[in-house]
Each structure stands twice: as structure tokens, then as C-alpha cells.
Symmetry: C2
Subunit: 205 residues, 2 copies
DNA sequence: TAAGTTTAAATCGTATACGATTTAATTCGA
DNA sequence: TCGAATTAAATCGTATACGATTTAAACTTA
């Protein structure tokens, strides 16, 4: 269905940092870009509205929502808890540690802020890769898409990643030792680190 | 916007148990019922699809998803955790205990399974009434809408409510004593009670 | 020159048209 | 009579039309 294709397209645009906060999505332009007429485009955008990735303003159209401190706090609080739940309910697979280490290397070798951010999200996705709760995973995916807007705009500082990298290594070590409560605790601290950083950056604006 | 009105209408229909599991939503009929043309109806249904309350099947339309054991388990696991998070982060207001007691009375006086179910959901909504995390509350609302399908169809037995009522009273008592960890624990047990009951009923089918 | 007003163009949200697909009803053959 | 084939009707998903609203451009006035 065309609606699904448009939604996929827009989610990819989000990952590539091609949807700017505050920007109105021009339906005619998007129809030309995708060669799909506006009806399924509107349906897809309505879905993204439901996910809070897009908001609609009557007679003005679909707009990428501005960033707010309260939303940031709420998002990070919720994601943190849900990701811990997913980690705790996932089957730990012995190849996971290898994958995490490899991913952490990729993260550290990333050259641009956007690549680094994407690798960081992949690291988190790996942590919960084996979680079988599809309801939970779907919610997490959606929330993380919204979080991308915050981090794409606000997390550029390489020094931030040093602290985060240390925590990621701590998480890997804990998982290697099958010590899930410690992994969960460090994971929570990691999300708090990002949350505090994002909130501080928002306060400067 | 008409899309929002259709969505509200359909969410109300869900609460009233007027959307049957497995039923295909007839767009022309809904357009006649609501006096709204199919374009905003499809947009609203696309949104409900995004929430997993409705699924779309190509060339057949929008259908209320069947109930499954795995979805039930996943839903209850996730709702339980999120509601506990919301309870723990809510400001406890001294009028809350009074409201909960009153609501519990309404629950116990309800004459029909559907009324009783709706009162039970209101009880749960009251528990988290003061939670300021709008991201979390929105997710909870959506998940609970989906859970209604399970409970409308499967939870009819009055004896189930006796156990649930006892737990509700335990939760009220714990909150009255400002003992949130205990309230959270009983709340978790309450969701497990429902989950186990629903899963058992599904197993009979 | 800046602010206000008017006009023109662009865009939005909804209704409607229409080809494709599914469902229902009817017919045919064993 | 039952199952398969054919026909008809209903419905779906998408494209397009169009009135309403917003935005942009042009004009006027102080």
C-alpha cells in the first residue's frame, strides 16, 4: 500500500536528518518527490501524527513539532524504562556481546555527528534485539524516532560521547558477565546522561 | 478537523464494545453514520492502525484485529510496567484516596460486565491521574484501548472481580499510607491476575 | 521608508470519480 | 444436489476536483 511506502520514506528522512524541526511538509512537493498522490501521503502523515513525530495544524498542514524541555524529559524517562524492561526480558544470546563490541567500535570510529548518532541508536537497538515483546518494541522504535530530532539538533559535542562510550563499555562488560541488573542500571544512567545533556542544551536556547 | 472527530467517535465505539473483533469496518456505512466523507475517515482509521487498534488488509479494508495470546501477554506486561512508572512518578494528592474509594464502590455496584469493566479502567486511570509525563500517558491510553477488546470479550466472570477488588482495596490502603512501593507491587499483581485470566480464557478457545 | 491594505498565488482539507479487487449472487454441468 | 464457473454488485485505494484558508506579492498611504 502506498501509505506504507510514504511512511517508510519519511521515517528514513528522519534518520537522515532531512526533516527539520519546525518545518512544514509541503504535500505537493512530497507528491512530486515520491510520485505518489496526496491521498496516501496524507494518510501516512496522519499516522506519523499519531506517533507524535508530526503534528497537524488546521489549514496549515503537517509540521515537524518544535522541541520542548518537558517533552524531552518525558521521552527520555519513558524510553529509559522501556528499554530496561526490554533488556531484562530479552534472551541473552552469546553472540550479542561480540555484536555489541563491534558496534561500539563503529560508534567510536564514526566521523560525523549524524553517523555517530545513528551508530549509537544501533547500539541501543542491539541491546534489546532479542526482546520478544512486539508491543514494547514498537513503542520503543517510535519514541526513539522522536528522540532523534532532539539529538540531531543538540548532541554534537564529541566530549559527550566519551562519557557515553564509557557507559556503553560498562554495559557490555555487565552483559558479558550475565549481570543484567548492573547492565540495566548503567543503561539507565546512560539515558539520564543524554537526557541531562539535551535538557542543558535546550536551556541554552 | 474531521479526522479527529472520526477518531474520537471510533474510540468511543471501542469503549462501548461496539467494534467486534474480526469485523471489517465498512467505509460507506461509517460515512453515512457520521455524515463525513471517506477521506477523513480513512485518515482516522490510518491513525488507529498506527495505534494497533485497527489493522488494514490490502483491498479488503480496515479490520478489528483478532485476539492472540502473545499480544495479550505483551500488552499486559507493558501496561503493567508503564502504569507502575506513572504511579511512581505521580504526585500523590490527598483527595486521590477519596476518589479511589468512591470509584471502587462504583466498580462493585456495577450491574453489567461492560459497566464493571469501564469502572475498572476508570479506577486505573485515577491511579495515574496526576502523572505529568504526557508521553507516557498517551501510550498508556492507547494500550488500554487495545486491552479493552480482550476484556470485553473474555472477562465476564464475577468471581474474577472479587480477587481484583481485593487487590484494588490493597492498592488504596497502600496509597493511603503513602506506601508507593507496596501500591506498585499490588498493582503489578493485579495486572498479572488479569493477564493470567485472559490468557487462560484464550486457551479455552 | 514602513506599515497597512488589496490582490494573486499557493496550499489545505474534504468530497467525489473511477479503475481494481473482493464479495455475493446466479448459472451451469456432472 | 453440489461444486465450479460466470456474472453482478459492493467495496477498496488512489487520483483528482474544488471551495476555503493561508501565504506571498503588489500597491497605497502617511
Amino acid at each position: 500500500m502506498l501509505r506504507d511506502r510514504v511512511k517508510e520514506y519519511l521515517l528514513k528522512q528522519i534518520q537522515r536528518n532531512n526533516l527539520q524541526v519546525g518545518k512544514t511538509i509541503n504535500l505537493a512537493a512530497l507528491a512530486r518527490q515520491t510520485q505518489i498522490s496526496v491521498t496516501p501521503i496524507r494518510e501516512a502523515l496522519s499516522q506519523l501524527e499519531e506517533s507524535q513525530l508530526i503534528k497537524s495544524v488546521p489549514n496549515r498542514g503537517f509540521i515537524v513539532p518544535e522541541l520542548t524541555m518537558s517533552e524531552a524529559k518525558n521521552l527520555y524517562e519513558t524510553v529509559s524504562q522501556l528499554e530496561i524492561l526490554a533488556l531484562e526480558s530479552a534472551a541473552i544470546d552469546e553472540r550479542l556481546v561480540g555484536k555489541l563490541k563491534k558496534q561500539q567500535l563503529l560508534l567510536q570510529q564514526a566521523h560525523s555527528p549524524l553517523t555517530r548518532l545513528n551508530e549509537r541508536f544501533k547500539f541501543h537497538d542491539l541491546l534489546v534485539e532479542n526482546c520478544q515483546n512486539t508491543v514494547l518494541m514498537r513503542i520503543l522504535d517510535t519514541l526513539k524516532s522522536r528522540i532523534r530530532f532532539y539529538e540531531q539538533l543538540l548532541v554534537k559535542d564529541a566530549s559527550f560521547y566519551e562519557n557515553s562510550d564509557n557507559q556503553n563499555e560498562g554495559i557490555i562488560r555487565a552483559i558479558e558477565e550475565q549481570n543484567i541488573p548492573t547492565a540495566a542500571l548503567i543503561l539507565k544512567m546512560n539515558w539520564m546522561l543524554v537526557s541531562d545533556y539535551v535538557v542543558a542544551q535546550l536551556q541554552k536556547k
